[in-house]
């Protein structure tokens, strides 16, 4: 292992992380809802009566963030996405992420940010689990195959 100092961005990543914490705290303290992307999406697939308005408001804000970010975020803080995965690989990965987060009842936001912040044992186990297979998967596709 060597550390990639050139692409290491501790400050913008920390600042971005603080914003994630602010958003999760805001949604819970104000509306009493957990900021978990999969949990929020699941509630609109299909929409259930009386439980969708907050979900759509949140998702609208989320989807407008790239547009607002053009003005608000520093240009050098914006990462141009580099997507190595092929089209078929993206489909497989998407299906695994959908099934896995639904079955495990949470993703990086619900378990990784909100759950760990609540000091939930379930979320700690979930986070360690998906990090573990994430590390192994990248090891396999980059160094084995």
């Amino acid at each position: 292992m060597t550390i990639d100092w050139l692409n290491f961005t501790p400050w913008t990543s920390l600042a971005g992380g603080l914003l994630l914490g602010v958003a999760a705290s805001l949604l819970f303290i104000y509306s009493g809802r957990i900021l978990g992307i999969i949990g929020i999406l699941e509630g609109v697939l299909p929409p259930k009566l009386g439980d969708t308005a907050w979900r759509f408001s949140f998702l609208l804000g989320l989807m407008l963030s790239p547009w607002v970010g053009q003005w608000l975020l520093p240009a050098d803080g914006m990462h141009a996405p580099q997507i190595d995965a092929s089209w078929p690989m993206l489909v497989v990965a998407g299906l695994l992420v959908g099934v896995g987060t639904r079955w495990g009842a949470g993703c990086t936001s619900g378990h990784g940010i909100c759950g760990l912040s609540r000091l939930s044992l379930r979320s700690l186990i979930a986070t360690l689990s998906f990090m573990a297979t994430g590390f192994v998967t990248v090891f396999v596709i980059r160094h084995v195959i």
Partner: protein
């Protein structure tokens, strides 16, 4: 008012994802690539998020109701079960393969990334398929309970 706050929570969350580097699958995979040229940045994302989150959820714990007057929807599940572990393990494989997790994929799709759009479609299909299959599996049980 409540809808506005929720909109801003989504907006701030998206801006956080963009600023942190989470919307760049290359950076996510560079974080997951311990054996290669490792970029530890994303550890700072989770660190920052949890730092603020501990304060935020700590405040909520000492209150009975949210500011909007609605109850707090605290997650009710407590026990660690097979679904939690296996689901999360499967999620990690998908995350490693593409470098996308759900939030960043939605943001990346919204910025016009065609590959993120395909990923999100597959992800939504995964959720819907899972729900269909588990619902079907539960039906005989529900019937056995209701029908004498």
């Amino acid at each position: 008012m409540q809808r506005v706050i929720e909109f801003f929570a989504g907006l701030i969350f998206g801006l956080g994802l963009l600023l942190s580097g989470m919307t760049d699958p290359g950076k996510v995979q560079a974080f997951l690539d311990l054996a290669g040229h490792w970029d530890p940045s994303l550890a700072f994302v989770m660190g920052g998020g949890v730092l603020v989150g501990v304060l935020g959820f700590g405040i909520a714990k000492r209150k009975n109701k949210s500011l909007s007057g609605q109850v707090f929807h605290w997650p009710e599940l407590r026990h660690v079960d097979r679904a939690l572990v296996f689901g999360s393990l499967i999620f990690g494989i998908g995350w490693g393969l593409a470098g996308f997790c759900p939030g960043p994929a939605l943001v990346s799709m919204a910025s016009g990334e065609a590959k993120a759009f395909v990923f999100v479609l597959a992800m939504l299909s995964g959720i819907v398929c899972f729900d269909r299959i588990t619902l079907r599996a539960q039906e005989p049980l529900a019937c056995a309970k209701d029908c004498p």
